[in-house]
Symmetry: C2
Subunit: 239 residues, 2 copies
């Protein structure tokens, strides 16, 4: 009744590629929290051995993107309200530190690069391409972290960013409201350009609190679905 998922022809991915694809699926809000992740199913989907999937799941569990329980396999993690709050609070701390560092060393080239990113982001918003807009919004935050030049801060922010979609999906639903506002990104870059660290931090705080303030009620538990949602482009559905 739930047997053959073919897909043997694909060339086969490396362990890192599989990991990144799953992480990307979470970032894109395609993998709802609570989704069961069966080893053989994933192995077939990606055209790899079960052992590879096994290692990937362990790594994902280590970064708290999946929950692993002995003998019962892995599911996409479902952060608690508490964890969600802690995550956002920590994010404010990390992003503030990034901005303080960045303002001290920002040059024209960086500012220009950031503004180019923001233009693309705004264009995506106007065009109504919310998928691309979300991606570019994430890129903006990541770019700030990379520019600050502290690899550990960058590492931690990326960790938080990866976990954030799970918090949003479990405690906010998939509303369009819960996205970064391009306008605020612009204001942050302006503050950086002016060398006003405190101002940049203040805007960033408001920016993050806007989303954070909403995570308190958990509306309902949506039913999990099959894992064909791992493939971003059009894909055929096996018989």
């Amino acid at each position: 009744m739930s047997a053959q998922i073919d897909k043997k022809e694909t060339t086969g991915f490396s362990e890192d590629e599989v990991l990144r694809q799953i992480e990307q699926a979470v970032l894109d809000h395609r993998l709802p929290p609570g989704t069961k992740l069966k080893e053989v199913q994933l192995a077939n989907l990606f055209g790899v051995k079960r052992g590879t999937i096994r290692k990937v799941l362990t790594r994902l569990a280590h970064s708290r993107l999946v929950d692993q329980t002995p003998n019962r396999g892995a599911t996409v993690a479902k952060p608690s309200v508490k964890e969600g709050r802690d995550l956002f609070a920590t994010r404010r701390v990390i992003e503030s530190a990034i901005l303080e560092t960045l303002v001290a060393s920002a040059d024209d080239r960086m500012i220009r690069h950031l503004k180019k990113l923001l233009e693309r982001e705004e264009k995506a918003y106007r065009r109504g391409d919310s998928e691309l807009a979300l991606k570019l919004s994430i890129d903006f935050h990541r770019e700030l972290a990379a520019m600050a030049g502290n690899s550990v801060l960058e590492e931690y922010l990326n960790d938080i960013i990866r976990r954030t979609p799970l918090v949003i999906l479990t405690h906010l639903g998939n509303d369009k409201e819960n996205r970064c506002r391009n306008q605020e990104h612009v204001a942050i870059v302006d503050a950086i350009e002016q060398g006003k660290a405190k101002k940049a931090v203040k805007i960033m705080h408001r920016h993050l609190l806007q989303i954070e303030s909403k995570i308190q009620h958990k509306p309902e538990t949506p039913q999990t679905d099959l894992a064909t949602l791992l493939r971003p482009p059009g894909e055929r559905v096996p018989a």
Copy 2:
């Protein structure tokens, strides 16, 4: 020439226990950076299968305590000067946030508990038991993190604490100077008790900068030795 390390009789540890023992060995400055970690050797030492060691090494690599290179195995990580600086800079950020949070919610019970810890720490210092003093000093920082009540901040601080010995050993040597000073810990608790967050943060900054300022020169590369240093208590050496 480097063949049989017996040790088959031991009861055998679980995966998590093996992980913790290795982490503890790093914390205790018993595992110098660069030490080769051979799978079968570790498997024999802990009385577990090679697969278990393999998973543990992967997990340790994920938290950057070991470096893994394909086909060439794992070694205890050797952080660069840059990584060391970034680590300490981030630690200041995290510990500051912890203190700010903590001061807002500290009660008498917490203060009393902290003071008790400090007494034990001071006693260990006076007695000259620098091993215990180091351990208690780490406990102090961890306790602050736990009391703040933000699980993500706590998680990150623990991550940093685990990696810190590797930075110290590679770029500072094993001097007694590079340890936390009990006196400063006392001053931090006093500031918390008085509800002065800014003051506590300032002391903490000075506290951490004192160590951080020294990581610039890397004296030499000490030779790696065998991994019998994994056992804290007295152990027999096989023929």
